[in-house]
Amino acid sequence: MTNLDIIMVIVRVSISAFVPLCFLAVCVTMERRVAGFIQDRSGPNRAGICGIRAGGLVQNLADGLKLAFKEDIISEHVEHKFLYVLAPIISMAAAIISFALVPFADTLVLDGKSYVMQGIPWDTGILWFLAITGFSVYGIILAGWSSTNKYSLLGALRSASQVISYEIPMGLAVISLLIVYGSINLSDIARFQGQTWLGFIPMWGILLQPLAAVIFIVAAFAECNRTPFDLAEGESELVAGFHLEYSAMKFAVFFMGEYVAMFASSAVIVTLFFGGYNIPFFDTDFLIRNIKPVAFVLLVILPVFMFYFAKWIRRNNRSQYLRENDPRKAEATIYIRCFWILIAIIEVFLLAILAFAQPDTAAAHLLVALMQICTFLIKVTLMLFVYVWVRWTIPRFRYDQLQMLGWQKLLPLALLNIFVTGAIVVALG
Protein backbone atom coordinates (compact mmCIF):
# COMPACT_ATOMS: atom_id res chain seq x y z
CA MET A 1 0.00 0.00 0.00
CA THR A 2 1.44 3.30 -0.98
CA ASN A 3 0.56 6.56 0.70
CA LEU A 4 -1.74 7.38 -2.17
CA ASP A 5 -3.64 4.14 -1.63
CA ILE A 6 -4.17 4.94 2.01
CA ILE A 7 -5.30 8.48 1.26
CA MET A 8 -7.73 7.22 -1.35
CA VAL A 9 -9.17 4.67 1.09
CA ILE A 10 -9.70 7.40 3.68
CA VAL A 11 -11.22 9.76 1.13
CA ARG A 12 -13.62 7.19 -0.26
CA VAL A 13 -14.75 5.85 3.09
CA SER A 14 -15.24 9.31 4.52
CA ILE A 15 -17.22 10.44 1.50
CA SER A 16 -19.52 7.49 1.71
CA ALA A 17 -19.92 7.71 5.48
CA PHE A 18 -20.11 11.44 6.06
CA VAL A 19 -21.88 12.72 2.98
CA PRO A 20 -25.17 11.05 4.00
CA LEU A 21 -24.77 12.50 7.49
CA CYS A 22 -24.05 15.96 6.15
CA PHE A 23 -27.02 15.67 3.87
CA LEU A 24 -29.18 15.31 6.96
CA ALA A 25 -29.06 19.07 7.31
CA VAL A 26 -30.02 19.48 3.67
CA CYS A 27 -32.82 16.92 3.96
CA VAL A 28 -34.36 18.38 7.08
CA THR A 29 -34.12 21.96 5.89
CA MET A 30 -35.48 21.00 2.52
CA GLU A 31 -38.32 19.06 4.09
CA ARG A 32 -39.40 22.04 6.13
CA ARG A 33 -38.90 24.82 3.66
CA VAL A 34 -40.29 22.95 0.68
CA ALA A 35 -43.28 21.99 2.80
CA GLY A 36 -43.66 25.65 3.66
CA PHE A 37 -43.39 26.86 0.11
CA ILE A 38 -45.77 24.23 -1.20
CA GLN A 39 -48.32 25.37 1.35
CA ASP A 40 -47.64 29.06 0.70
CA ARG A 41 -46.00 29.67 4.04
CA SER A 42 -42.36 30.23 4.74
CA GLY A 43 -41.06 27.46 6.98
CA PRO A 44 -38.48 28.05 9.70
CA ASN A 45 -36.64 31.29 8.99
CA ARG A 46 -36.17 32.92 12.36
CA ALA A 47 -33.44 31.07 14.25
CA GLY A 48 -30.10 32.67 13.58
CA ILE A 49 -26.64 33.20 14.97
CA CYS A 50 -25.87 36.94 15.03
CA GLY A 51 -28.51 37.44 12.41
CA ILE A 52 -27.10 34.79 10.08
CA ARG A 53 -29.82 32.25 9.50
CA ALA A 54 -28.50 30.55 6.38
CA GLY A 55 -31.94 29.97 4.93
CA GLY A 56 -33.18 27.90 7.86
CA LEU A 57 -30.07 25.80 8.41
CA VAL A 58 -29.50 27.30 11.86
CA GLN A 59 -32.89 25.99 12.91
CA ASN A 60 -31.50 22.45 12.51
CA LEU A 61 -28.66 23.32 14.82
CA ALA A 62 -31.13 24.59 17.39
CA ASP A 63 -33.23 21.46 17.13
CA GLY A 64 -30.17 19.24 17.32
CA LEU A 65 -29.02 21.03 20.47
CA LYS A 66 -32.49 20.73 21.94
CA LEU A 67 -32.54 16.98 21.33
CA ALA A 68 -29.02 16.54 22.65
CA PHE A 69 -29.79 18.26 25.94
CA LYS A 70 -33.19 16.73 26.54
CA GLU A 71 -33.59 14.11 29.20
CA ASP A 72 -33.10 10.64 27.78
CA ILE A 73 -35.88 8.57 29.25
CA ILE A 74 -36.14 4.80 29.32
CA SER A 75 -39.56 4.12 30.76
CA GLU A 76 -39.99 1.80 33.72
CA HIS A 77 -42.19 -0.60 31.79
CA VAL A 78 -39.55 -1.34 29.17
CA GLU A 79 -38.53 -4.91 29.96
CA HIS A 80 -35.77 -5.52 27.46
CA LYS A 81 -33.67 -2.40 27.89
CA PHE A 82 -30.78 -3.69 25.80
CA LEU A 83 -32.97 -4.36 22.77
CA TYR A 84 -34.71 -1.04 23.33
CA VAL A 85 -31.41 0.81 23.07
CA LEU A 86 -30.19 -1.41 20.23
CA ALA A 87 -33.13 -0.64 17.94
CA PRO A 88 -32.23 2.93 16.88
CA ILE A 89 -28.60 1.90 16.45
CA ILE A 90 -29.60 -0.84 14.01
CA SER A 91 -31.80 1.57 12.06
CA MET A 92 -29.07 4.15 11.72
CA ALA A 93 -26.22 1.72 11.02
CA ALA A 94 -28.18 -0.15 8.35
CA ALA A 95 -29.04 3.15 6.69
CA ILE A 96 -25.44 4.33 6.56
CA ILE A 97 -23.98 1.02 5.40
CA SER A 98 -26.52 0.64 2.63
CA PHE A 99 -24.94 3.62 0.87
CA ALA A 100 -21.46 2.06 0.97
CA LEU A 101 -21.60 0.41 -2.45
CA VAL A 102 -23.01 3.28 -4.45
CA PRO A 103 -20.44 4.84 -6.79
CA PHE A 104 -20.26 8.62 -6.61
CA ALA A 105 -17.79 9.09 -9.47
CA ASP A 106 -16.30 7.09 -12.31
CA THR A 107 -13.25 4.96 -11.58
CA LEU A 108 -10.47 7.39 -10.80
CA VAL A 109 -7.13 6.74 -12.45
CA LEU A 110 -4.16 8.20 -10.57
CA ASP A 111 -0.56 7.27 -11.29
CA GLY A 112 -1.70 4.44 -13.49
CA LYS A 113 -3.73 2.86 -10.70
CA SER A 114 -7.49 2.85 -10.78
CA TYR A 115 -9.67 3.45 -7.74
CA VAL A 116 -13.32 2.50 -7.71
CA MET A 117 -15.13 5.45 -6.20
CA GLN A 118 -17.33 3.60 -3.73
CA GLY A 119 -17.14 3.37 0.03
CA ILE A 120 -16.39 -0.34 -0.25
CA PRO A 121 -14.91 -1.22 -3.64
CA TRP A 122 -16.92 -4.35 -4.12
CA ASP A 123 -18.85 -5.50 -7.14
CA THR A 124 -22.03 -6.83 -5.54
CA GLY A 125 -23.75 -3.48 -5.74
CA ILE A 126 -27.49 -3.67 -5.74
CA LEU A 127 -27.77 -6.99 -3.87
CA TRP A 128 -25.88 -5.42 -1.00
CA PHE A 129 -28.39 -2.60 -0.91
CA LEU A 130 -31.28 -5.07 -0.82
CA ALA A 131 -29.59 -7.11 1.91
CA ILE A 132 -28.86 -4.17 4.16
CA THR A 133 -32.20 -2.44 3.79
CA GLY A 134 -33.69 -5.77 4.84
CA PHE A 135 -31.92 -5.33 8.16
CA SER A 136 -33.64 -2.06 8.94
CA VAL A 137 -36.74 -4.16 9.68
CA TYR A 138 -35.01 -5.40 12.82
CA GLY A 139 -34.68 -1.85 14.11
CA ILE A 140 -38.37 -1.24 13.55
CA ILE A 141 -39.51 -4.54 15.05
CA LEU A 142 -37.27 -4.27 18.09
CA ALA A 143 -38.28 -0.67 18.75
CA GLY A 144 -41.96 -1.42 18.52
CA TRP A 145 -41.81 -4.62 20.47
CA SER A 146 -39.49 -3.60 23.29
CA SER A 147 -41.39 -0.36 23.94
CA THR A 148 -44.16 -2.43 25.55
CA ASN A 149 -46.72 -0.05 24.22
CA LYS A 150 -49.73 -0.85 22.09
CA TYR A 151 -49.30 2.06 19.72
CA SER A 152 -45.64 1.26 19.16
CA LEU A 153 -46.42 -2.38 18.60
CA LEU A 154 -49.12 -1.61 16.05
CA GLY A 155 -46.86 0.87 14.31
CA ALA A 156 -44.05 -1.65 14.17
CA LEU A 157 -46.40 -4.34 12.86
CA ARG A 158 -47.57 -2.11 10.05
CA SER A 159 -44.17 -0.79 9.26
CA ALA A 160 -42.40 -4.14 9.29
CA SER A 161 -44.99 -5.95 7.21
CA GLN A 162 -44.94 -3.06 4.77
CA VAL A 163 -41.16 -3.15 4.44
CA ILE A 164 -41.10 -6.93 4.08
CA SER A 165 -43.82 -7.02 1.45
CA TYR A 166 -42.45 -4.15 -0.62
CA GLU A 167 -39.03 -5.74 -0.71
CA ILE A 168 -40.44 -8.31 -3.14
CA PRO A 169 -41.60 -5.98 -5.93
CA MET A 170 -38.41 -4.01 -5.38
CA GLY A 171 -36.22 -7.08 -5.88
CA LEU A 172 -38.21 -8.15 -8.92
CA ALA A 173 -37.95 -4.69 -10.46
CA VAL A 174 -34.21 -4.90 -9.95
CA ILE A 175 -34.07 -8.24 -11.76
CA SER A 176 -35.50 -6.83 -14.97
CA LEU A 177 -32.99 -4.00 -14.72
CA LEU A 178 -30.15 -6.46 -14.29
CA ILE A 179 -31.24 -8.23 -17.45
CA VAL A 180 -30.81 -4.97 -19.33
CA TYR A 181 -27.56 -3.89 -17.72
CA GLY A 182 -26.03 -7.36 -17.55
CA SER A 183 -24.32 -6.66 -14.24
CA ILE A 184 -25.14 -6.19 -10.59
CA ASN A 185 -22.20 -3.91 -10.04
CA LEU A 186 -23.47 -0.38 -9.52
CA SER A 187 -20.32 1.05 -11.08
CA ASP A 188 -20.93 -0.97 -14.24
CA ILE A 189 -24.54 0.09 -14.24
CA ALA A 190 -23.61 3.74 -13.95
CA ARG A 191 -21.01 3.41 -16.70
CA PHE A 192 -23.56 1.70 -18.94
CA GLN A 193 -25.82 4.70 -18.58
CA GLY A 194 -23.06 7.01 -19.71
CA GLN A 195 -23.60 5.82 -23.27
CA THR A 196 -25.92 7.63 -25.56
CA TRP A 197 -28.48 6.33 -27.96
CA LEU A 198 -28.50 7.63 -31.53
CA GLY A 199 -26.00 10.15 -30.30
CA PHE A 200 -28.30 12.36 -28.27
CA ILE A 201 -30.57 10.33 -25.97
CA PRO A 202 -28.76 9.29 -22.78
CA MET A 203 -29.31 5.58 -22.06
CA TRP A 204 -30.76 6.11 -18.63
CA GLY A 205 -32.59 3.39 -16.78
CA ILE A 206 -35.79 5.38 -16.70
CA LEU A 207 -35.90 5.37 -20.50
CA LEU A 208 -34.90 1.72 -20.88
CA GLN A 209 -37.07 0.39 -18.07
CA PRO A 210 -39.84 2.88 -17.27
CA LEU A 211 -42.06 0.28 -15.59
CA ALA A 212 -39.26 -1.03 -13.41
CA ALA A 213 -38.44 2.56 -12.50
CA VAL A 214 -41.99 3.26 -11.35
CA ILE A 215 -42.15 0.01 -9.37
CA PHE A 216 -38.75 0.53 -7.80
CA ILE A 217 -39.44 4.13 -6.83
CA VAL A 218 -42.82 3.29 -5.33
CA ALA A 219 -41.28 0.41 -3.40
CA ALA A 220 -38.44 2.64 -2.25
CA PHE A 221 -40.96 5.13 -0.89
CA ALA A 222 -42.60 2.30 1.02
CA GLU A 223 -39.26 1.00 2.30
CA CYS A 224 -38.41 4.42 3.69
CA ASN A 225 -41.81 4.64 5.37
CA ARG A 226 -42.48 7.92 3.63
CA THR A 227 -45.82 9.39 2.69
CA PRO A 228 -47.99 8.12 1.01
CA PHE A 229 -46.93 4.95 2.81
CA ASP A 230 -46.18 6.32 6.27
CA LEU A 231 -48.99 4.46 7.99
CA ALA A 232 -46.51 3.37 10.59
CA GLU A 233 -46.62 6.81 12.10
CA GLY A 234 -50.20 7.68 11.22
CA GLU A 235 -50.44 10.45 13.80
CA SER A 236 -54.18 10.42 13.96
CA GLU A 237 -54.43 6.78 14.93
CA LEU A 238 -51.06 5.64 16.27
CA VAL A 239 -49.63 8.83 17.82
CA ALA A 240 -46.17 8.30 16.32
CA GLY A 241 -45.76 4.65 15.53
CA PHE A 242 -42.82 2.52 16.51
CA HIS A 243 -40.66 5.33 17.92
CA LEU A 244 -43.35 6.68 20.19
CA GLU A 245 -41.55 5.75 23.42
CA TYR A 246 -38.22 7.17 22.37
CA SER A 247 -37.05 10.54 23.56
CA ALA A 248 -34.12 12.88 23.11
CA MET A 249 -31.09 11.49 21.32
CA LYS A 250 -32.53 8.02 20.83
CA PHE A 251 -35.40 9.57 18.95
CA ALA A 252 -32.93 11.75 17.08
CA VAL A 253 -31.01 8.66 15.97
CA PHE A 254 -34.21 7.13 14.58
CA PHE A 255 -35.00 10.37 12.87
CA MET A 256 -31.53 10.63 11.38
CA GLY A 257 -31.65 6.99 10.33
CA GLU A 258 -34.84 7.71 8.45
CA TYR A 259 -33.29 10.57 6.54
CA VAL A 260 -30.05 8.71 5.86
CA ALA A 261 -32.11 5.82 4.51
CA MET A 262 -33.92 8.30 2.32
CA PHE A 263 -30.58 9.61 1.09
CA ALA A 264 -29.26 6.12 0.40
CA SER A 265 -32.34 5.05 -1.48
CA SER A 266 -32.33 8.23 -3.57
CA ALA A 267 -28.69 7.56 -4.34
CA VAL A 268 -29.57 4.05 -5.49
CA ILE A 269 -32.52 5.32 -7.52
CA VAL A 270 -30.28 7.88 -9.18
CA THR A 271 -27.65 5.25 -9.92
CA LEU A 272 -30.12 2.76 -11.32
CA PHE A 273 -32.40 5.02 -13.31
CA PHE A 274 -30.98 8.50 -13.73
CA GLY A 275 -27.47 7.88 -14.94
CA GLY A 276 -25.70 7.93 -11.60
CA TYR A 277 -22.74 10.25 -11.56
CA ASN A 278 -22.79 10.74 -15.34
CA ILE A 279 -23.08 14.25 -16.65
CA PRO A 280 -25.66 13.89 -19.41
CA PHE A 281 -24.15 13.69 -22.92
CA PHE A 282 -20.55 13.83 -21.70
CA ASP A 283 -18.93 10.56 -20.73
CA THR A 284 -15.80 10.36 -18.63
CA ASP A 285 -13.39 9.77 -21.52
CA PHE A 286 -14.71 12.74 -23.43
CA LEU A 287 -14.32 14.98 -20.40
CA ILE A 288 -10.79 13.84 -19.66
CA ARG A 289 -9.68 14.23 -23.24
CA ASN A 290 -11.18 17.69 -23.54
CA ILE A 291 -10.27 18.97 -20.11
CA LYS A 292 -9.29 22.44 -21.31
CA PRO A 293 -12.53 23.34 -23.10
CA VAL A 294 -14.45 21.88 -20.16
CA ALA A 295 -12.50 24.01 -17.69
CA PHE A 296 -13.04 27.04 -19.89
CA VAL A 297 -16.79 26.50 -20.08
CA LEU A 298 -16.94 26.11 -16.30
CA LEU A 299 -14.84 29.24 -15.94
CA VAL A 300 -17.41 31.21 -17.92
CA ILE A 301 -20.58 29.59 -16.60
CA LEU A 302 -19.86 29.84 -12.89
CA PRO A 303 -19.73 33.67 -12.59
CA VAL A 304 -22.79 34.05 -14.80
CA PHE A 305 -24.66 31.56 -12.66
CA MET A 306 -23.44 33.30 -9.53
CA PHE A 307 -24.61 36.68 -10.84
CA TYR A 308 -28.18 35.45 -11.16
CA PHE A 309 -27.93 33.53 -7.90
CA ALA A 310 -26.86 36.73 -6.13
CA LYS A 311 -29.82 38.51 -7.66
CA TRP A 312 -32.10 35.79 -6.35
CA ILE A 313 -30.60 36.06 -2.88
CA ARG A 314 -31.11 39.83 -2.92
CA ARG A 315 -34.69 39.49 -4.00
CA ASN A 316 -35.62 36.90 -1.43
CA ASN A 317 -33.55 37.88 1.54
CA ARG A 318 -35.20 41.07 2.66
CA SER A 319 -37.76 41.83 5.28
CA GLN A 320 -41.29 41.75 3.93
CA TYR A 321 -42.35 44.71 6.06
CA LEU A 322 -41.15 48.26 6.62
CA ARG A 323 -38.00 48.25 8.64
CA GLU A 324 -35.23 50.79 9.03
CA ASN A 325 -31.78 49.66 7.91
CA ASP A 326 -33.08 46.20 7.09
CA PRO A 327 -30.58 43.80 8.70
CA ARG A 328 -31.58 41.07 6.28
CA LYS A 329 -30.16 43.15 3.45
CA ALA A 330 -26.81 43.23 5.22
CA GLU A 331 -27.17 39.50 5.77
CA ALA A 332 -27.77 38.97 2.06
CA THR A 333 -24.61 40.96 1.32
CA ILE A 334 -22.65 38.63 3.58
CA TYR A 335 -24.02 35.54 1.84
CA ILE A 336 -23.29 36.95 -1.58
CA ARG A 337 -19.72 37.85 -0.59
CA CYS A 338 -19.14 34.34 0.77
CA PHE A 339 -20.41 32.79 -2.43
CA TRP A 340 -18.33 35.11 -4.58
CA ILE A 341 -15.19 34.22 -2.59
CA LEU A 342 -15.98 30.53 -3.10
CA ILE A 343 -16.47 31.08 -6.80
CA ALA A 344 -13.22 33.07 -6.97
CA ILE A 345 -11.28 30.19 -5.39
CA ILE A 346 -12.78 27.72 -7.83
CA GLU A 347 -11.97 30.09 -10.69
CA VAL A 348 -8.33 30.26 -9.63
CA PHE A 349 -8.11 26.48 -9.69
CA LEU A 350 -9.81 26.33 -13.05
CA LEU A 351 -7.43 28.95 -14.41
CA ALA A 352 -4.48 26.93 -13.17
CA ILE A 353 -5.86 23.86 -14.91
CA LEU A 354 -6.50 25.85 -18.05
CA ALA A 355 -2.96 27.18 -18.01
CA PHE A 356 -0.95 24.12 -17.05
CA ALA A 357 -2.87 20.88 -17.19
CA GLN A 358 -2.57 18.54 -20.11
CA PRO A 359 -5.37 16.16 -21.02
CA ASP A 360 -5.14 12.79 -19.30
CA THR A 361 -3.12 13.92 -16.31
CA ALA A 362 -3.89 13.51 -12.64
CA ALA A 363 -5.32 17.03 -12.43
CA ALA A 364 -7.70 16.31 -15.28
CA HIS A 365 -8.84 13.08 -13.68
CA LEU A 366 -9.37 14.77 -10.34
CA LEU A 367 -11.35 17.63 -11.86
CA VAL A 368 -13.58 15.21 -13.73
CA ALA A 369 -14.09 13.13 -10.57
CA LEU A 370 -15.05 16.25 -8.64
CA MET A 371 -17.46 17.30 -11.35
CA GLN A 372 -19.02 13.87 -11.27
CA ILE A 373 -19.36 13.92 -7.49
CA CYS A 374 -21.12 17.27 -7.77
CA THR A 375 -23.40 15.95 -10.50
CA PHE A 376 -24.20 12.93 -8.41
CA LEU A 377 -25.00 15.02 -5.35
CA ILE A 378 -27.16 17.40 -7.38
CA LYS A 379 -29.10 14.47 -8.81
CA VAL A 380 -29.52 12.95 -5.36
CA THR A 381 -30.72 16.30 -4.01
CA LEU A 382 -33.30 16.46 -6.78
CA MET A 383 -34.44 12.95 -5.91
CA LEU A 384 -34.69 13.94 -2.25
CA PHE A 385 -36.74 16.89 -3.39
CA VAL A 386 -39.07 14.44 -5.12
CA TYR A 387 -39.44 12.55 -1.86
CA VAL A 388 -40.37 15.75 -0.05
CA TRP A 389 -42.56 16.93 -2.89
CA VAL A 390 -44.54 13.69 -2.90
CA ARG A 391 -44.88 13.80 0.85
CA TRP A 392 -46.55 17.19 0.80
CA THR A 393 -48.78 16.39 -2.14
CA ILE A 394 -50.30 12.97 -1.67
CA PRO A 395 -52.45 11.89 1.25
CA ARG A 396 -51.76 8.66 3.09
CA PHE A 397 -52.99 5.31 1.84
CA ARG A 398 -55.21 3.08 3.88
CA TYR A 399 -53.45 -0.02 5.12
CA ASP A 400 -55.35 -2.55 3.00
CA GLN A 401 -54.88 -0.33 -0.05
CA LEU A 402 -51.17 -0.35 0.63
CA GLN A 403 -50.90 -4.12 0.80
CA MET A 404 -53.25 -4.45 -2.18
CA LEU A 405 -51.02 -2.16 -4.22
CA GLY A 406 -47.92 -4.11 -3.27
CA TRP A 407 -49.18 -7.62 -3.84
CA GLN A 408 -51.87 -7.28 -6.46
CA LYS A 409 -50.51 -4.52 -8.66
CA LEU A 410 -46.75 -4.07 -8.27
CA LEU A 411 -45.86 -7.76 -7.93
CA PRO A 412 -47.62 -8.99 -11.13
CA LEU A 413 -46.42 -5.93 -13.01
CA ALA A 414 -42.85 -6.60 -11.94
CA LEU A 415 -43.13 -10.25 -13.01
CA LEU A 416 -44.61 -9.25 -16.34
CA ASN A 417 -41.83 -6.75 -16.76
CA ILE A 418 -39.22 -9.46 -16.23
CA PHE A 419 -40.76 -11.67 -18.93
CA VAL A 420 -41.14 -8.86 -21.43
CA THR A 421 -37.63 -7.56 -20.80
CA GLY A 422 -36.16 -11.05 -21.06
CA ALA A 423 -38.00 -11.70 -24.31
CA ILE A 424 -36.87 -8.41 -25.82
CA VAL A 425 -33.27 -8.85 -24.73
CA VAL A 426 -33.19 -12.38 -26.15
CA ALA A 427 -34.87 -11.25 -29.37
CA LEU A 428 -32.38 -8.44 -29.87
CA GLY A 429 -29.53 -10.82 -29.11
Binding site: T124, L130, A131, G134, F135, A156, I164
Partner: protein
Protein backbone atom coordinates in the same frame (compact mmCIF):
# COMPACT_ATOMS: atom_id res chain seq x y z
CA UNK B 1 -2.96 -14.81 9.34
CA UNK B 2 -5.45 -12.07 9.19
CA UNK B 3 -7.94 -14.33 7.46
CA UNK B 4 -7.46 -16.82 10.30
CA UNK B 5 -8.19 -14.17 12.91
CA UNK B 6 -11.31 -13.08 11.07
CA UNK B 7 -12.39 -16.68 10.75
CA UNK B 8 -11.97 -17.31 14.47
CA UNK B 9 -13.91 -14.15 15.30
CA UNK B 10 -16.79 -15.11 13.03
CA UNK B 11 -16.76 -18.69 14.28
CA UNK B 12 -16.79 -17.57 17.91
CA UNK B 13 -19.66 -15.18 17.28
CA UNK B 14 -21.56 -17.91 15.46
CA UNK B 15 -21.09 -20.33 18.36
CA UNK B 16 -21.99 -17.67 20.91
CA UNK B 17 -25.11 -16.93 18.91
CA UNK B 18 -26.22 -20.53 18.82
CA UNK B 19 -25.51 -20.92 22.53
CA UNK B 20 -27.66 -17.87 23.16
CA UNK B 21 -30.36 -19.40 21.01
CA UNK B 22 -30.54 -22.40 23.33
CA UNK B 23 -29.93 -20.66 26.63
CA UNK B 24 -32.10 -17.55 26.48
CA UNK B 25 -35.56 -17.96 27.87
CA UNK B 26 -37.40 -15.39 25.84
CA UNK B 27 -38.10 -16.40 22.21
CA UNK B 28 -37.33 -12.90 20.93
CA UNK B 29 -33.83 -12.98 22.38
CA UNK B 30 -33.27 -16.48 21.04
CA UNK B 31 -34.41 -15.44 17.58
CA UNK B 32 -32.06 -12.47 17.60
CA UNK B 33 -29.20 -14.75 18.64
CA UNK B 34 -30.02 -16.94 15.68
CA UNK B 35 -29.88 -13.85 13.45
CA UNK B 36 -26.42 -13.09 14.83
CA UNK B 37 -25.35 -16.63 13.98
CA UNK B 38 -26.71 -16.25 10.45
CA UNK B 39 -24.82 -13.01 9.93
CA UNK B 40 -21.53 -14.43 11.18
CA UNK B 41 -22.01 -17.46 8.93
CA UNK B 42 -22.41 -15.00 6.08
CA UNK B 43 -19.09 -13.52 7.16
CA UNK B 44 -17.48 -16.95 6.90
CA UNK B 45 -18.90 -17.39 3.41
CA UNK B 46 -17.40 -14.06 2.47
CA UNK B 47 -14.01 -15.26 3.74
CA UNK B 48 -14.34 -18.21 1.37
CA UNK B 49 -14.88 -15.61 -1.41
CA UNK B 50 -18.30 -17.05 -2.09
CA UNK B 51 -19.86 -13.67 -2.76
CA UNK B 52 -23.22 -14.76 -3.99
CA UNK B 53 -23.76 -17.20 -1.14
CA UNK B 54 -22.72 -14.45 1.28
CA UNK B 55 -25.31 -12.07 -0.13
CA UNK B 56 -28.01 -14.71 -0.35
CA UNK B 57 -27.33 -15.66 3.25
CA UNK B 58 -27.78 -12.01 4.22
CA UNK B 59 -30.85 -11.40 2.08
CA UNK B 60 -32.67 -14.68 2.53
CA UNK B 61 -31.69 -16.01 5.95
CA UNK B 62 -30.61 -13.01 7.97
CA UNK B 63 -32.94 -10.63 6.17
CA UNK B 64 -36.12 -12.43 5.18
CA UNK B 65 -36.44 -15.64 7.17
CA UNK B 66 -35.21 -14.28 10.49
CA UNK B 67 -37.16 -11.07 10.00
CA UNK B 68 -40.28 -13.18 9.48
CA UNK B 69 -39.57 -15.18 12.64
CA UNK B 70 -38.92 -12.07 14.70
CA UNK B 71 -41.99 -10.48 13.18
CA UNK B 72 -44.16 -13.39 14.22
CA UNK B 73 -42.73 -13.39 17.72
CA UNK B 74 -43.51 -9.71 17.92
CA UNK B 75 -47.00 -10.42 16.61
CA UNK B 76 -47.61 -12.91 19.43
CA UNK B 77 -46.35 -10.25 21.83
CA UNK B 78 -45.13 -12.69 24.47
CA UNK B 79 -44.35 -11.25 27.86
CA UNK B 80 -42.29 -12.71 30.64
CA UNK B 81 -45.38 -14.00 32.42
CA UNK B 82 -46.67 -15.85 29.35
CA UNK B 83 -43.62 -18.07 29.13
CA UNK B 84 -43.93 -21.62 30.46
CA UNK B 85 -41.92 -22.55 33.50
CA UNK B 86 -39.05 -24.79 32.61
CA UNK B 87 -37.64 -26.10 35.86
CA UNK B 88 -35.55 -28.90 34.49
CA UNK B 89 -34.25 -27.29 31.38
CA UNK B 90 -30.66 -27.37 32.59
CA UNK B 91 -30.89 -31.08 33.24
CA UNK B 92 -32.15 -31.56 29.72
CA UNK B 93 -29.47 -29.31 28.34
CA UNK B 94 -26.67 -31.16 30.04
CA UNK B 95 -28.17 -34.52 29.10
CA UNK B 96 -28.40 -33.43 25.48
CA UNK B 97 -24.84 -32.23 25.50
CA UNK B 98 -23.59 -35.51 26.93
CA UNK B 99 -25.53 -37.42 24.30
CA UNK B 100 -23.93 -35.31 21.58
CA UNK B 101 -20.37 -36.04 22.68
CA UNK B 102 -19.95 -39.26 20.63
CA UNK B 103 -21.37 -37.55 17.54
CA UNK B 104 -18.97 -34.66 17.96
CA UNK B 105 -16.08 -37.03 18.48
CA UNK B 106 -17.05 -38.85 15.31
CA UNK B 107 -17.28 -35.58 13.37
CA UNK B 108 -13.86 -34.45 14.53
CA UNK B 109 -12.47 -37.77 13.42
CA UNK B 110 -14.06 -37.43 10.00
CA UNK B 111 -12.69 -33.91 9.64
CA UNK B 112 -9.23 -35.04 10.52
CA UNK B 113 -9.30 -37.87 8.02
CA UNK B 114 -10.11 -35.53 5.13
CA UNK B 115 -6.88 -35.09 3.20
CA UNK B 116 -5.50 -31.61 3.80
CA UNK B 117 -6.15 -29.36 0.85
CA UNK B 118 -3.48 -26.84 0.22
CA UNK B 119 -4.57 -23.25 0.69
CA UNK B 120 -4.56 -21.66 -2.70
CA UNK B 121 -6.05 -18.64 -4.32
CA UNK B 122 -9.16 -19.72 -6.12
CA UNK B 123 -9.63 -18.86 -9.75
CA UNK B 124 -10.76 -15.43 -10.79
CA UNK B 125 -14.49 -15.08 -10.66
CA UNK B 126 -15.00 -17.98 -8.29
CA UNK B 127 -18.25 -17.63 -6.43
CA UNK B 128 -19.28 -14.58 -8.38
CA UNK B 129 -22.72 -14.35 -9.80
CA UNK B 130 -21.91 -14.87 -13.45
CA UNK B 131 -19.90 -18.06 -12.92
CA UNK B 132 -22.37 -19.48 -10.48
CA UNK B 133 -25.26 -18.72 -12.79
CA UNK B 134 -23.52 -20.35 -15.71
CA UNK B 135 -22.86 -23.54 -13.76
CA UNK B 136 -26.37 -23.54 -12.32
CA UNK B 137 -28.10 -23.16 -15.66
CA UNK B 138 -25.96 -25.60 -17.64
CA UNK B 139 -24.70 -28.49 -15.51
CA UNK B 140 -27.34 -28.32 -12.82
CA UNK B 141 -30.35 -27.21 -14.77
CA UNK B 142 -32.55 -30.24 -13.98
CA UNK B 143 -32.01 -30.21 -10.19
CA UNK B 144 -32.54 -26.46 -10.23
CA UNK B 145 -35.86 -26.78 -12.01
CA UNK B 146 -36.94 -29.62 -9.72
CA UNK B 147 -36.23 -27.48 -6.68
CA UNK B 148 -38.18 -24.60 -8.13
CA UNK B 149 -41.06 -27.00 -8.76
CA UNK B 150 -40.87 -28.02 -5.11
CA UNK B 151 -41.10 -24.39 -4.06
CA UNK B 152 -44.05 -23.86 -6.37
CA UNK B 153 -45.82 -26.84 -4.83
CA UNK B 154 -45.30 -25.38 -1.35
CA UNK B 155 -46.58 -22.04 -2.52
CA UNK B 156 -49.74 -23.48 -4.05
CA UNK B 157 -50.19 -25.68 -1.00
CA UNK B 158 -50.02 -22.69 1.31
CA UNK B 159 -52.58 -20.80 -0.76
CA UNK B 160 -54.91 -23.79 -0.87
CA UNK B 161 -54.65 -24.39 2.87
CA UNK B 162 -55.35 -20.72 3.59
CA UNK B 163 -58.36 -20.90 1.25
CA UNK B 164 -59.83 -23.95 3.04
CA UNK B 165 -59.53 -22.26 6.41
CA UNK B 166 -61.40 -19.23 5.19
CA UNK B 167 -64.33 -21.35 3.94
CA UNK B 168 -64.75 -23.23 7.18
CA UNK B 169 -64.74 -19.94 9.05
CA UNK B 170 -67.66 -18.54 7.07
Amino acid sequence: MYIDTLFSIFALIAIAGSLGLVLFRHPMQSALCLAVTMISLAGIYALLSAKLIFLLQLIVYAGAVMAMIVFIIMFLNLREKDLPEERERFTYLIGGAVLLIPVAWFMIKVMKSIPGVKNSIVGNGFGSIKELGQVLFTNWLVPFEIISLLLLVTLVGAVVLAGIRRESND
